[in-house]
């Protein structure tokens, strides 16, 4: 717990946009950023409370580092769990897991800051 707290303390001192880019690079290294960002913008328009880089990073990464190879596995299993519990978002017609919608939202916020 102490280690995790220490890590999060360090991460939270990191520039939010820098952290967000690192998270996005880890989760969608080959994704079409333009498409993700456009879906994310629509998601944020319906869920304005999600327009918070730091919060999105925290929710997506949890207590892992962006560079941790476990991160993608953890997010993948969370996506499946979202679908299983019907925790989905309908964005521009796409039926996405809440986690996927948040990744898109992150892409949109990162693009907006670029």
């Amino acid at each position: 717990l102490l280690l995790a707290a220490g890590w999060w303390n360090a991460v939270s001192r990191q520039e939010p946009a820098e952290l967000a880019r690192a998270v996005l690079n880890a989760l969608a290294p080959h994704g079409d950023r333009g498409a993700l960002s456009s879906i994310g913008a629509r998601y944020i328009a319906c869920h304005p409370k999600e327009a918070d880089l730091q919060r999105l990073c925290r929710v997506l990464v949890g207590d892992l580092r962006p560079s941790d190879p476990e991160l993608r596995r953890s997010v993948t299993s969370r996506i499946r769990a979202d679908f299983a519990s019907k925790d989905v978002a309908q964005v521009d017609g796409w039926i996405l897991s809440k986690t996927e919608a948040r990744i898109c939202a992150l892409a949109s916020l990162v693009e907006a800051q670029a």
Binding site: I79, R80, Q90, G93, L96
Partner: protein, 521 residues
Amino acid sequence: VFEDFVDNQTREVFEADVCIIGGGAAGITVARELSNAQLQICLLESGGFHADRATQDLYSGENVGLPYFPLHSTRLRYLGGTTNHWSGQCAPMSQLDFEKRDWVPQSGWPMERADLDPFYERAQPICSLGEYVYDEQLFDYLELTQPELDPALLKAFFFRYSPPIRFGDAYRADLEAADNLRVVLNATAVDIKTDRNGSAVEEVVFKNLAGRVGRVRARAYVVACGGIENARVLLLSRGTNPNGLGNDYDLVGRYFMEHPEIPSGRLTTSDPFPLLDTYLRHWRDGMQYRPAFRTADETQREEGVLGACAVLEYVPREDSGTTAAIAIGRSVSNGEMPDDLGEKVWRMLVDLDELIPNVYRYVVEGKEPLAEPKTLYFKSMSEQAPNPESRVSLAEEHDALGLPRARLRWQVSEVDKRSIEVLNRCLGIEFGRLGMGRVRLDDVLNGEEPFHPRGGFHHMGTTRMSEDPKRGVVDPDCRVHSTSNLYVAGSSVFPTSGHVNPTLTLVALAVRLADHLGEVL
């Protein structure tokens, strides 16, 4: 035995126990089933053995509702009726389709699926469909991986395909051979005449296109002309009731239903081939099958929607060598020279990576070749909520026999569309959970485009069945409530439409009606 009313030597008055109007799937089924009974049967068919333009024009009519196909193109007026252009896709309706559902006004059949099961079973060979099995056990039989669907959201089932049977061709010899059966060709029923108070039919008047008049007198009469024409024939028979026969409560022609059909959702997946291998058509022991998905009963109840089903379709990429090879193969088998032969051959040569595995699939594995898809999508078909304003009535314009043509006002409602949306949302959730891809609902379902679905040439509901004469034209025996010896066969008696093609159900009901007539006559 056939008689052709075009021939002036043919007699003008026929006596029979049963007069059947219409030689399509329903009429021919009733006739064949009854031909084993000790009854004399007379079947009136408006056309001959083949299509002809003048007779087919009797089917022209007006569309004044949603955009719809020209009415004469959706049905065929010669022996075999509309089975002459039938695709052959069949499945029985589900148990829930027969139930009274609180969230679907006017729903509920006066029978259960279990009551119809024995007749569905008898309808199978009539439609050349093999065993009466449509559920998930076919995944094993076809050696396919069954998806582990959440049963609260989706249910998998199978469509089966008739070759398809063209009833006129397939059963012509039976009709010819039956001594107790007269089929009068080129005989269009123009009036059903009743006694003074409309309680019993006394004769059916028919004409050929030259205006020659004939009559059939029988103990019982069956109207079996199709979902639009059944209503029209009753509305045209105004001898005792100016609103039409059986129309004491202004129900004839109302509650017209189709199966609204749209490309409903695009599927994005990293590995399309296993999906296409599973969800396209399969051939086994001479029969064809296709897996499909329908909205689970629980979701229909929770969301207050109607039944809907979907199949997976795909569009191959334009430059596919396999598509070029298929096109060449089709042209050659039709004895024609393919268009753009050089270009097609070139596409095959530069696309050998795709073509060679497909040759193996086709030649060694006996499977259909699969081109690399450009797009995968779901095509959905939904039930329609019964709506009295969606209706068939009589038009001002008259046909060649001087009779008002049919006028169709087809309407769809919000719940019809929402039923497709809910099904596709369930598909999105389940395909996501199973790691099979992501679904994007079509813009129509996002409300970005108007809902103008196609239909499937499925005409239902215009003489609906109910125990209550104020809610239905025919009773549970398919007898017109007001008239003791007049029956209706076909999908016009469906009180609700279900979400699968209607032919198997209407044939099952025709078998059931024939049994009933055999008992009461």
